[in-house]
């Protein structure tokens, strides 16, 4: 609740700090404290608070605002909630680079393990027992609905053991998850500019291969090193899956995404084995093999 008291004194840091609050888990607390201190009126519109620069902010971040405008967001805190929604719906790639806390990513990741998707991977969602009568896009169509969803959740299904294992993997994986960094320590596909469409398709795939191959030059002598780099590579797969790959023809793009999902699953398996105390040398060799075949596939344009 006292996150508001951490507002940076250095005004040059205010934009970055506020961006992290906008995408983080404490925005509600921040808004409540600011409302208590500055009052609860509606005040000017979000567009007016941003002095006509709202669309720039949504695309490119709060660095587009002057200090006085950032302060305007603090003294009209309801606008922060509105801005958050705009950013989440329509925000530009800038917002992808704003770091999330480990706690936030862990909280999000563990939820996946509890979904029916994990517990019954081959179950068809199109059976009559799972299709609900109401669409999730209409909150009010069923007068006798309780506030909670009528859809079955994992709590009403079996296979807790599968959810438990998956939760362990997800939670342990995310213990070592760090937010994407835009600094020089990023390597491989996490390096800035990896997915920029500024080259031909061939050059693009070669760039992906070259950067993936940075794995072979990195030390993996200790468990920590191996774990860190597997986590980094796994995170980079997520980024690759979300990128647009505009230079690639559709067939290559589709193949790239298909392969990346398989590589991601292999990294997940290797990380889980590491955390379960598996033989580190064996896991290292497996990881080397995964990355080796990944690099070859890219260089050979998926012929292998």
């Amino acid at each position: 609740m006292l996150v508001a008291c951490d507002i940076p004194e250095d005004s040059t840091q205010l934009a970055d700090w506020l961006e992290q609050q906008l995408v983080g888990l404490q925005l509600g607390d921040l808004v409540a404290m600011l409302r208590a201190v500055h009052g609860d009126g509606d005040g000017p519109s979000l567009e007016d608070v941003c002095d006509g620069k709202l669309s720039e902010v949504v695309q490119h971040g709060l660095g587009r605002l002057e200090i006085s405008q950032l302060q305007g967001l603090l003294v009209h805190p309801k606008r922060l909630l509105e801005l958050q929604e705009r950013v989440f719906l329509d925000g530009g790639d800038h917002w992808r680079t704003v770091p999330r806390t480990t706690e936030h990513l862990q909280a999000a990741a563990v939820g996946w393990a509890l979904l029916p998707v994990r517990s019954s991977p081959l179950a068809s969602p199109f059976s009559s027992s799972t299709l609900a009568a109401s669409s999730p896009l209409n909150a009010n169509e069923n007068g006798d609905r309780t506030g909670r969803s009528a859809h079955p959740t994992s709590r009403s299904r079996g296979a807790w053991w599968v959810a438990g294992v998956a939760a362990l993997v997800a939670a342990l994986l995310l213990m070592f998850w760090t937010p994407p960094r835009a600094d020089s320590l990023a390597w491989g596909w996490n390096r800035p500019g990896t997915f920029v469409a500024d080259v031909t398709a061939d050059q693009y795939l070669d760039r992906l291969a070259d950067r993936a191959d940075e794995w072979s030059a990195r030390p993996h002598d200790t468990l920590d090193q191996l774990r860190r780099d597997l986590t980094d590579f796994r995170r980079a797969c997520v980024t690759l899956l979300a990128a647009s790959h505009d230079r690639l023809p559709p067939s290559q793009r589709e193949e790239l995404l298909k392969r990346c999902r398989k590589w991601r699953d292999k990294f997940d398996t290797q990380l889980a084995a590491l955390e379960a105390g598996g033989n580190a040398n064996d896991i290292r060799q497996e990881a080397d093999k995964t990355v080796g075949s990944l690099v070859t596939a890219l260089r050979q344009r998926f012929a292998s």
Binding site: S11, D93, W95, S124, L137
Partner: protein, 181 residues
């Protein structure tokens, strides 16, 4: 934050012709959007546990209704589901049963204000207990002003202003802890 490109979203919509494709699509969507969806819900509910529960309901709905996604604006679709879950949750918490007419007029901003009102109700009495000097320093800091600026504006030495702020923060913390307990 932009959703995956329209091309990839349409691809994933086509991918979900079978169960395996569906799992992959939902898995990708989860990877890309779960953290933001959770943050959206956390800002609009009274605590993180409630937000997590609602997030799980949202994704359960996504899983069940993935085939209905038309590939156009994934984030819009996901966050609309989340808004409706929020409205359902808020509806359940009303002391008096909400009429369908009222519920139909309830917007997500109403839900937002309502849930933030709970947090405001918790913190406002504590702020009001601050003496005028401490209150003044807190107001200035929560406008983003530095201690140097506060010192120049008020004539208070910087270190004194910092001490006043620290004590105000401590007082607020103790007050909130008492209210929670």
């Amino acid at each position: 934050m932009t959703a995956p490109t329209q091309h990839s979203e349409q691809d994933t919509a086509r991918d979900i012709a079978d169960a395996a494709g569906l799992r992959i699509a939902v898995s990708d969507w989860y990877d890309a959007h779960a953290a933001d969806l959770l943050a959206f819900l956390a800002a609009r509910t009274s605590n993180l546990d409630v937000a997590r529960d609602l997030a799980q309901e949202v994704w359960a709905s996504v899983w069940t209704h993935a085939a209905e996604f038309d590939g156009q604006h994934l984030r819009g679709w996901l966050f609309q589901i989340a808004r409706n879950k929020l409205i359902d949750w808020q509806r359940q918490r009303q002391e008096q049963p909400m009429t369908d007419e009222t519920a139909a007029r309830l917007t997500a901003n109403d839900v937002t204000d309502g849930s933030n009102d709970e947090r405001l109700a918790a913190v406002r009495p504590c702020v009001e207990l601050l003496d005028p000097t401490r209150r003044s320093v807190v107001e200035a800091r929560l406008r983003g002003e530095s201690f140097d600026t506060i010192s120049q504006q008020t004539g208070t030495p910087v270190k004194t202003a910092m001490t006043q702020f620290h004590r105000a923060k401590q007082q607020l913390k103790e007050c909130l802890e008492r209210r929670v307990s």
